[in-house]
Point group: C2
Chain length 219, copies 2
């Protein structure tokens, strides 16, 4: 992994684990656009599925990527500059395309600064609460018959402290959720839910629109 | 134009003018993702060129669109929901594709709230300054031999007041820049610059990457 701390981005091979990224960033005061939760397929899998648990527009946090198309061509898309995305954007359609546009080889993530972070959980009743301040990441997990709502937040100390007070609950630590998905992580009724989907073992990709399928065939 | 003030979005036909959008939003406390400057091609032209003068990620402010592909197919992409973009994103590649993916018919813009706004200009030396607070929109214009830096900002009263104090200069009003581009607005050496490009009359589209061209042919 290639960390560019001053420019706040990280270049990660697709096979890097999400917790490996956290380890690499430890002590830098910089955070990636996902919570400290290991998921199938590492960074590449995460990007193919369009992120996990985020309460913001995830595709914009992927500054660039290299991917191999279904026909085997290698495409470099995007770059490392945040502000001036110049158009002809192949990064955004790739993110969340569930492999339809190919397989990621390398991903450039935007990093965001934070002086503090907190990972909390509390019992989950089934209703997504309105939280203020809203955490950057939120997901619900069924574990042994009980439902838990997990929230991860980072930012200024005061903001994080206000979040902790508002959310309550107990501290959580980095998690490995890969054992939940021995047959792959897809969309369907399952024990894990975020703001976009319910995730199931062996679940499927959402049905792509006709026009998107045509795009995929062209690459 | 269809304004959904409570849900903070606007549905505009591609031919709507940018200043018409400002008129429609007048008094609502909501703002579109472009400054009060009329440009060639209205909303459709703006989206094809990837926005104007923004200091943020413009494509994410286009929640959805309907467009006609080069082969004449009509495609609906995206929606009106901000948070849970689910993947298979055809909106983001369209934005800034300079017509390569087709022609917009209707655009859904995210609106952002602001209690105050300010449009200012000051003499421009040629260097883009570091401004704090940074305005949402910034562009430079040569007029009669003189260079001016224009900045437009909206938000909380205090934030806008701090911007006014930091930026200085004089008040500007809504502008019609269409007369600068009788042969169309494209990229090239010209009198108008924003954070992405210099804009020229009869200017061209930037060269698309090979893979993007393939995409365009497929649609």
């Amino acid at each position: 992994m290639e960390l560019h701390a001053a420019d706040q981005y990280l270049v990660a091979p697709a096979e890097a684990g999400l917790l490996e990224v956290y380890e690499r960033l430890s002590g830098t005061g910089l955070f990636p656009p996902f919570p400290p939760v290991e998921l199938p397929g590492g960074v590449g899998g995460l990007v193919a599925r369009g992120g996990f648990a985020q309460a913001f527009f995830f595709p914009a946090e992927v500054l660039g990527l290299t991917f191999k198309t279904p026909k085997g061509r290698v495409v470099r898309a995007g770059g490392v500059v945040v502000k001036n995305v110049q158009g002809y954007d192949l990064v955004r359609p790739f993110v969340g395309s569930f492999g339809l546009l190919g397989e990621a080889l390398e991903v450039v993530f935007r990093l965001r600064p934070g002086r503090a972070s907190a990972f909390l959980r509390r019992p989950f009743s089934g209703e997504s609460p309105a939280l203020s301040p809203a955490p950057r990441f939120l997901f619900a997990l069924e574990e042994g018959g009980a439902g838990w709502l997990y929230a991860y937040h980072f930012g200024h100390e005061k903001e994080v402290a206000r979040f902790q007070e508002a959310f309550g609950g107990e501290e959580a630590g980095p998690m490995d959720l890969r054992p939940l998905f021995p047959q792959g992580m897809g969309v369907g009724e399952g024990p894990l839910k975020d703001l976009r989907f319910s995730w199931a073992d062996g679940g499927r990709a959402p049905e792509p629109p006709e026009a998107f399928r045509k795009l995929a065939e062209a690459l």
